[in-house]
């Protein structure tokens, strides 16, 4: 009798087919290796929108589904008692085992932290479907291993190695193998049932996985019934999978196909398909309303293929007897089911997955495809390995040879009943334990439901910061109101501050808003302690006064009598836990500011971006610089580091006057459109010229320019001279003395000290040149400069900078990169519109520059040079005493005079000047004025400005009648040979020198802009006008808003006739004789 018995196939393992598979596997695993070495991003097309690709859809979801052959066949044969199909069981179990093996390997590549794969074993999360899948798959893999044990043990047992060493090992292993085999055989039924149950669990759970994405999965597939559908489709695909596989295996091993057996086996398949199809179609019918076939055409096509080719077609085929009797048709029909189910899994996991916001659809990368193909190839190889060496595939047993099973039945019979029961006991404990564990996990999960399995310490609402109202003050709360407030937010200070607080110019806003205080002060306090205040709209409604459109000042003549509510009195911290509805100070300010500013016309120059109101704080550069350990930076490398991120800025620098020392000079009369004038070629009173003197030049330039090409070299820029915040960096310090790394890490916005490191030393020493700039301004007293001393303004607060071009005007360095004025902050009506007197003072602004009154004296605390006589240089004299601590004679420069607390010279100035340029002819018998301001009374643009005048006696070329450049360093100062020094100097400037020098008197103007005195110290009316003419207050009693009720008086009695009105072009005091008020404002007294 021929009986089908599992046997080892007697075929060679290595064939062209297997070699081919090996190549595919090798390619696949090389991509796998790349994923391990380079990360998921390198090999896959996964992104935040598509976290799951084909490694999940095919390797895992389809893998599990197609491995269903194992449990369905087991159930069919063992549980439902159709023992005639037993020959099909072992290959089915093997396939299942391999399928799950593929799942495990595929997952290892897919999860991001594969080394953490064991975590679910100890971190249970019973709410997670995936947890259930993971646990179940692990358990089922164990079960499958037990189910696989008999053929493996049989194979090992019958293996008779030729090598003696191995043979002895085998001999020794015989006993344990027999024992294990006996155990397995006894407990196998228990495991078979367990395997079926476990399979049902996770097959369905794989469907439940996607139930959590109702908004992402296309309604073509999304249904809460997904678990049922997945389970039924798995049951449906199991048997066709086994059929397909035995047909293919049979073909590959050259067996006759067992068509008859398989045909019988397939009888049940149409029933399984119809159960699944019924559920599927029923579900679709129930959700018909939701389904839109037009929404995603590609999904609809995939869906249709799945239904027609994967469901309807095989149903028809398997129902036909003729099909079940033909090997070829059986294979086709099975293949359709298998591919249909695989497509279903891919549809649910990929094609039907439409995440919101996703830009492009997912398509697997080469690596993903290759690894998947490689895995499948590996499976086929392993399959072949097992069927080659172990008794798996059934074939006809020749009479006389005892089947392996028959052989081992004998062993089984040998087991004592006691041991048999013991074995069963262990298995029962194992299975019961597993189920108990499961119940526990889920019961616990239900109890805590969505809570964490891992309790996190409770987070608390942060209490609003406790605010010390006393410390939190506006800059000096005024009696009435002042110009400037520092708007700050305690919350921001506490957390993340990116900006310096705003310096809010109250008076300007007051003026611009038409004095409508109620725009901002919508509450009014009755006293200092009133934390809430009254709603002023309500209050005024009650007394029948409408405030909109009416300046508060119209009624509240003197604002001092009213206590307006500080913003901070109500708005303090935001996000207060007791009262979130109250917006914080930060929000109150911003909403107020932005609400007005965003509606201002462009012409209003109202800032609309963050940095126009407050300066960004420079972030800590330490983490940004990433200085490698043990590297020591230098000036060059620091600049390199800066340029690494700020290269654009480097190019900007090369366009600036600070770098080029030449540029546009719109304020030099006759040279308005030139671009060649600048410090490179100007002649002045102090150093005469910089270019021939490299040490001076290097000190004042913002980089290292030695060669002509350096002027275009980004890497020569010295960023630190302006951006060092440690005050340890100096241009003239030697490289070794500077802690470069520290300096570089702490770069920041330039401070007054940075700008001052050059500008406070112009002229070659502290305070020499400007008169209104001296090292005192690094940290000045408010009396010396109110802006810098009182409210700590930085240079760039006025000298507004854009792309490193710095606005401002110098009487020496003539390049102009933008103009500035007091009006930016102080507005058109800087003295307030709170009274007639204020208006009267404002009228002065058209004629008198702000500086004239507000800088009554310059060099107030630090002396400045007033004159120098180069003709006396080179002698060793000690006869001239020091003045204000400064030498009266310096061998290098000659005789010098100094001054302190100087009353400026007042001149008309309309913005441009006559400038001496190298090469201009001079009249040696007259005083040469190097930069004479232009303007007179009749020029409406001109205002009276304060100036410092510096006088010098300096060399000139007697023949060519022009001023000359001088090389002091290493030349004049060595031997005081003027002719040689001038010749050298002129050569460096590209000029010639006749060889004969003389000395000529020169004068140089410097306009005075700094050292703005506090308002109280500004000039009073009587300081300029004759006192008997100005009893203004007789009529103009209202001076609200002015902090200087005494300002009509003389503030500086020591300086009578401060203004020489005749020199300015007036017949006398314009308050008496009439001046420009009449000319330009058509009022006041007509000129006589």
């Amino acid at each position: 009798m021929n009986k089908l018995q599992p046997q080892c196939t007697q075929k060679p393992f290595f064939t062209p087919g297997t070699t081919m598979l090996m190549v595919l596997a090798a390619i696949g695993f090389s991509f796998g290796l790349a994923r391990i070495l380079n990360g998921l991003g390198a090999v896959t097309n996964l992104d935040n929108f598509y976290p799951w690709g084909i490694w999940i859809a095919i390797d895992v979801a389809s893998g599990v589904a197609l491995a269903a052959g194992g449990f369905t066949t087991a159930a069919y044969i063992e549980i439902f008692g159709c023992h005639q199909f037993k020959p099909l069981l072992r290959p089915a179990i093997l396939t299942a085992w391999l399928g799950y093996f593929m799942v495990a390997v595929g997952l290892t590549f897919d999860v991001g932290r594969y080394w953490n794969m064991w975590q679910p074993i100890i971190n249970w999360q019973g709410n997670s479907v995936l947890f259930e899948v993971a646990m179940c798959v692990m358990a089922y893999l164990t079960v499958l291993t037990v189910e696989m044990a008999p053929p493996v043990l049989e194979g090992v047992k019958t293996w008779t190695p030729k090598r003696p060493a191995l043979a002895s090992v085998m001999r020794r292993a015989e006993k344990p193998i027999v024992f294990a085999y006996a155990w397995v055989k006894i407990v196998l039924p228990l495991f078979i049932v367990a395997g079926v149950v476990l399979s049902c669990m996770h097959q369905s759970s794989l469907g439940t996985l996607m139930v959590i994405a109702p908004t992402k999965l296309s309604p073509l597939w999304y249904t809460p019934l997904l678990p049922a559908l997945f389970l039924l489709s798995a049951m449906m695909v199991g048997l066709p999978m086994v059929i397909m596989e035995s047909l293919i295996a049979g073909k590959s091993f050259g067996h006759e196909p067992e068509t008859e057996l398989l045909g019988d086996f397939a009888k049940v398949i149409p029933w399984l398909i119809s159960i699944y199809a019924l559920c599927k179609f029923g579900d679709i019918a129930m959700r018909w309303e939701e389904i839109s076939f037009a929404a995603h055409p590609d999904a609809t096509v995939a869906w249709a293929i799945e239904i027609v080719l994967g469901l309807i077609a095989p149903f028809i085929l398997f129902s036909l007897k003729s099909v079940r009797q033909s090997a070829g048709w059986l294979l086709t029909a099975s293949l359709l089911v298998v591919l249909g189910v695989a497509l279903n899994r891919i549809n649910v996991y990929i094609i039907g997955y439409y995440p919101p916001f996703a830009g492009k659809r997912y398509f697997p990368a080469l690596g993903e495809i290759a690894l998947t193909v490689g895995l499948i190839a590996t499976l086929m190889l392993i399959y072949r390995f097992f069927v080659t060496f172990f008794p798996i595939i059934a074939s006809e047993v020749h009479a006389g040879t005892m089947s392996a099973e028959a052989q081992h039945a004998a062993h089984h019979d040998a087991v004592q009943p006691f041991w048999a029961w013991f074995f069963r006991g262990t298995a029962v404990v194992f299975l019961l334990g597993f189920v108990a564990l499961y119940s526990l996990v889920h019961t616990e999960a239900i109890a805590v439901s969505l809570k964490a399995s891992h309790e996190v310490q409770t987070a608390k609402i942060s209490k609003g910061p406790k605010i010390e109202t006393a410390a939190f003050k506006h800059a000096d709360r005024p009696d009435a109101y002042r110009n400037l407030y520092v708007l700050n937010s305690p919350l921001l200070n506490k957390t993340n501050d990116y900006y310096e607080p705003v310096r809010f110019t109250h008076r300007t806003h007051d003026v611009n808003s038409g004095s409508t205080c109620s725009l901002c002060h919508h509450r009014q306090g009755s006293n200092m302690n009133d934390r809430v205040g009254d709603d002023i709209y309500k209050m005024h409604a009650e007394i029948d006064v409408r405030i909109s459109g009416t300046p508060c000042i119209a009624c509240h003549k003197d604002l001092t009598e009213k206590q307006f509510q500080k913003c901070s009195q109500c708005h303090l911290s935001s996000n207060e836990s007791d009262f979130p509805a109250r917006i914080g100070l930060k929000g109150a300010y911003h909403r107020q500011c932005i609400a007005c500013h965003q509606n201002q016309p462009k012409t209003a120059h109202a800032p609309t971006d963050c940095v126009s109101c407050h300066h960004p704080l420079v972030p800590d550069h330490k983490p940004l610089l990433k200085i490698e350990a043990n590297t020591q930076l230098s000036r060059q490398t620091v600049t390199g580091k800066c340029l690494g991120c700020h290269e654009e800025t480097g190019h900007d620098i090369l366009k600036t006057a600070h770098w080029n020392w030449q540029g546009r000079t719109p304020t030099i009369s006759g040279q308005e459109h030139s671009t060649h004038i600048g410090l490179r070629n100007i002649i002045d009173n102090y150093d005469i010229s910089l270019i021939p003197n490299p040490r001076l030049r290097d000190f004042f330039h913002i980089g290292d320019v030695r060669l002509a090409s350096d002027w275009k070299d980004l890497t020569k820029i010295d960023c630190l001279v302006c951006h060092d915040t440690t005050a340890t960096y100096r241009r003239d310090a030697s490289e070794e003395t500077i802690a470069w790394n520290n300096v570089a890490e702490k770069v920041g916005r330039p401070s007054r000290a940075n700008c001052g490191s050059c500008h406070f030393y112009s002229g070659g020493g502290a305070g020499i040149k400007h008169g209104d700039l001296s090292p005192l301004l690094v940290n000045p007293d408010p009396d010396v400069d109110f802006h810098m001393g009182k409210v700590d303004m930085r240079c760039q607060d006025c000298h507004i900078t854009s792309k490193h071009q710095i606005a401002g005007l110098s009487f020496n360095a003539p390049v102009v990169e933008g103009r500035i004025g007091c009006g930016v902050c102080h507005g058109e009506h800087p003295h307030g519109i709170t009274g007639i007197l204020s208006r009267h003072i404002d009228n002065h602004v058209k004629t008198v520059a702000c500086e004239t009154c507000h800088i009554p004296q310059f060099a107030r605390k630090y002396p400045t040079q007033l004159s120098v006589d180069f003709s006396t240089a080179g002698q060793d004299r000690t006869d001239i005493p020091q003045q204000f601590g400064k030498p009266g004679y310096d061998k290098r420069y000659g005789e010098q005079t100094w001054g302190q607390n100087i009353v400026p010279l007042y001149r008309w100035f309309e913005g441009s000047r006559q400038n001496y340029l190298l090469g201009d002819k001079i009249a040696p018998d007259k005083t040469v004025v190097l930069n004479e301001p232009i303007g007179d009374k009749h020029n409406p643009k001109a205002q009276i400005y304060p100036f410092k005048v510096h006088r010098a006696v300096q060399p000139y070329d007697v023949e060519q009648k022009m001023l000359v450049a001088v090389k002091f360093e290493d030349c004049l100062w060595r031997d005081f040979d003027w002719n040689k020094a001038i010749a050298e100097g002129m050569k460096e400037m590209g000029r010639t020198f006749s060889g004969k020098h003389g000395f000529v008197k020169t004068e140089m103007y410097t306009s005075i802009h700094h050292e703005i005195a506090p308002a109280r110290q500004s000039l009073g009316c009587a300081d300029c006008h004759t006192p008997e003419n100005i009893a203004c207050t007789r009529c103009h009693t209202n001076a609200a808003g002015m902090n200087q009720p005494e300002h009509t008086q003389r503030v500086y009695p020591a300086f009578p006739n401060r203004f020489d009105f005749k020199a300015l072009g007036y017949e006398g005091d314009p308050a008496v004789t009439g001046g420009r008020f009449y000319m330009f404002f058509k009022k006041g007294r007509p000129p006589k």
């Binding site: 994405a213 916001f357 957390t495 911003h590 963050c610």
Partner: protein, 316 residues
């Protein structure tokens, strides 16, 4: 467990029949009893000016990498962005005024981040409990147990969790954690809300924020759409949005009022509660197998070992 077979099956199936409707119902809602303690954040899109300060604050607080484009740059608004591993929150720009009474404004801005759902799908999905909801409502992440399966990303209906695909060995799921510190439990203290210059973001107790939001709607019916986004969406979220135009116009997705996690949890717990169903199936199948084997045994001579004795051992 000395139940006889019939009892066993009957008990199991009976329990199942009784509990099934309940299990598929409102299982998960009961869990959020201490909702009153939950913190939240209210985003008022009519106040947002698109300054991106919240992005910057978030970046610094969470020590995220320096972005390629500076935070002051407005050009990023050209495309609609989503939170990523390098930016837990992003602000997007939508054409049109934020509300009918702000017609001078041409754009609406809306900040996106994790909404910290009251019933977070990501937490429900996470296989190991790497994502958890703290008692005050912040949904936080613990990379130590995460295995990187990315199921949370599939589960989140708002498309929030992002993944560090470029990190080789220790990639993390990244998302806004409400600035709560998982390790130290320092509590939600959102940097973005602190930084917002116009206080378009208000942080506080969720319940009081809801009151605040409704109050704003009542006061300014002309400005606001009478709907607080997040009050009911996916069962409620900790982050709430007030808008002056339909929420779907500013990048907020239309959402059902139940959490997707409800469905999966109902199924999970329905099937696995006390292991009843697996037990029942095991018993039924085991019984069938035993019966079929006995039948074969009786019809021919005993040929194989089977589980019948075992079944007896268990049920008798």
């Amino acid at each position: 467990m000395l139940l006889n077979r019939r009892n066993f099956l009957g008990w199991g199936l009976g329990t199942l029949a009784v509990s099934a409707p309940r299990l598929l119902g409102q299982e998960a809602t009961a869990s959020n009893g201490d909702e009153a303690q939950h913190v939240g954040c209210l985003v008022d899109t009519t106040l947002c000016i698109g300054c991106r300060k919240c992005e910057e604050a978030c970046n610094r607080r969470n020590k995220l990498p320096h972005p390629d484009i500076a935070f002051t740059e407005q050009t990023v608004f050209r495309q609609e962005r989503r939170p990523s591993a390098k930016a837990f929150t992003v602000v997007n720009e939508y054409t049109g005024a934020p509300s009918p009474d702000q017609e001078w404004m041409k754009e609406t801005y809306a900040k996106v981040q994790c909404l910290h759902c009251l019933i977070p799908s990501c937490v429900s999905a996470c296989i190991v409990g790497a994502l958890t909801k703290t008692k005050d409502g912040a949904v936080v992440y613990n990379p130590d147990v995460c295995l990187g399966c990315r199921y949370c990303m599939v589960a989140c209906p708002f498309q929030i969790p992002a993944y560090e695909y470029d990190v080789v060995l220790t990639p993390r799921v990244r998302k806004c954690e409400f600035c709560a510190n998982f390790v130290k439990g320092t509590g939600a203290d959102p940097a973005c809300a602190a930084a917002c210059p116009t206080e378009a973001l208000v942080f506080g107790q969720r319940s009081s924020l809801l009151t605040l939001a409704k109050d704003r709607i009542n006061r300014r019916p002309d400005r606001y759409v009478a709907h607080v986004y997040g009050e009911h969406e996916v069962g409620g979220t900790a982050w709430l949005y007030l808008t002056g135009r339909p929420a779907t116009e500013v990048g907020l997705l239309a959402m059902p009022t139940f959490s997707p996690a409800h469905s999966t949890e109902a199924i999970q717990h329905g099937i696995f509660r006390y292991g009843i169903i697996p037990f029942a199936v095991y018993g039924a199948l085991g019984g069938l197998m035993w019966y079929n084997h006995r039948r074969t045994q009786q019809s021919c001579k005993p040929d194989s070992e089977s589980g019948q004795q075992v079944q007896e051992a268990r049920h008798e």
